[in-house]
């Protein structure tokens, strides 16, 4: 079993098999763990699809399994893992972040307060928000 971390959180994937820098999933686990969907045209999220590279398709799709780490790197995104291959982080790319910022729409997030109650930035739509950071360190 492998723990897959994405921006949306952690998911346990029983079918996952890590081989070096590749992470193979049962096709049926892809959506639950990543929010992406495997379709005939490739790996898709909304209107965006990454086609399976024809030249070396066996590096990405084999029978009922998908190399999710391989696809992630095709998207230009980091796919990192611990030494044992038991925990993987599928991260965001620089262009994911840059595109979001350049749209000028403030990227939304959801975080807890001290009591654990969750707040989203978008809960405060309609107000001017001074979003600031601090730390104890």
């Amino acid at each position: 079993m492998v723990t897959v971390l994405t921006e949306a959180g952690a998911t346990e994937v029983v079918s996952a098999q890590a081989t070096g820098d590749d992470l193979w999933f049962a096709k049926t686990d892809v959506t639950r763990a990543t929010g992406w969907n495997l379709k005939p045209e490739g790996l898709c999220q909304g209107d965006l699809c990454v086609p399976v590279p024809k030249a070396n398709s066996e590096n990405f799709v084999r029978e009922e399994t998908v190399n999710i780490a391989g696809f992630w790197r095709l998207l230009g995104r980091p796919a990192l893992h611990d030494q044992a291959g038991a925990t993987w982080m599928l991260g965001a790319s620089a262009s994911d972040r840059a595109n979001a910022l350049q749209s000028l729409e403030a990227p939304d997030f959801k975080l807890p307060d001290l009591d654990g109650k969750l707040h989203s930035l978008s809960d405060y739509r309609g107000k001017r928000v001074f979003l600031t950071t601090w730390s104890s360190w």
Partner: protein, 234 residues
């Protein structure tokens, strides 16, 4: 720091959201919040997600967001100034002149926030779209990779793989040395420093290595002090 401003503005159309970039969570944040008792929104960001989304490198930084959820000032220092670098590291005292510069920086920034809090888009400190884009600092591939390493390292630490987690935190810091968020947070995760501050000899060596260069680019606000306020260590 922001409570007086929040009380003073008392405007239903204005909210402060203060995010604690605090991987230890309530353990280290609660004491400060219990003392300050802010009435605005305070959130705990253990994974430094906000710094990642908004491409921030230290605290305090701030982003101004209008009623429609649009950025009208991208991430910038929330009034910090390099003048603090003239601080005596033994007794934390500062020369009068540098204290005055740092105070002026803080006040100029606060005044700008207040003006926007009250006047909204009419404030001269709220940027138009073109100005926001000019002032936006976009992340590089190394920054994205650093943030991914940080998230993985944090998770591993949380789940008992402390040593291995620290390796990823170190990679994150090395990929993005300019981020004191990552560097000082990683230090604080290893061990909470004296008085809670992650500022050891290595940190001050990094500060000194900046030479005459500024760590905090002065925000584009009229009247914000642009003089150095410190003598570079040679």
């Amino acid at each position: 720091m922001w409570q007086a401003l929040y009380d003073e503005v008392k405007n239903e159309d204005f909210m402060i959201i203060a995010v604690a970039e605090e991987s230890r969570g309530n353990e280290t944040a609660k004491e400060w919040l219990d003392l300050a008792k802010p009435s605005y929104v305070t959130l705990i960001d253990r994974e430094h997600h906000v710094a990642d989304l908004y491409n921030m490198v230290n605290v305090p930084q701030a982003v101004w967001i209008d009623e429609h959820g649009r950025i009208v000032r991208p991430a910038e220092t929330a009034g910090s100034h390099d003048a603090w670098r003239s601080m005596n590291r033994e007794d934390m005292s500062m020369p009068e002149e540098s204290t005055a510069i740092a105070a002026k920086a803080q006040k100029t920034y606060m005044d700008a926030v207040r003006d926007w809090a009250i006047n909204g888009t009419m404030s001269k400190h709220a940027f138009n779209s073109a100005q926001v884009r000019t002032h936006l600092a976009l992340p590089t591939e190394n920054v994205a990779l650093a943030n991914t390493n940080f998230r993985l390292g944090f998770y591993l630490r949380e789940h008992g793989q402390v040593e291995e987690g620290d390796k990823f935190l170190k990679i994150a810091v090395d990929l993005r040395p300019e981020s004191w968020n990552l560097y000082r947070q990683a230090m604080n995760l290893r061990e909470i420093g004296p008085n809670g501050f992650a500022a050891n000899e290595d940190f001050f060596a990094r500060v000194d290595a900046l030479g005459a260069g500024r760590y905090y680019p002065p925000p584009n606000i009229e009247g914000f002090p642009t003089e150095a306020g410190f003598v570079p260590v040679s």
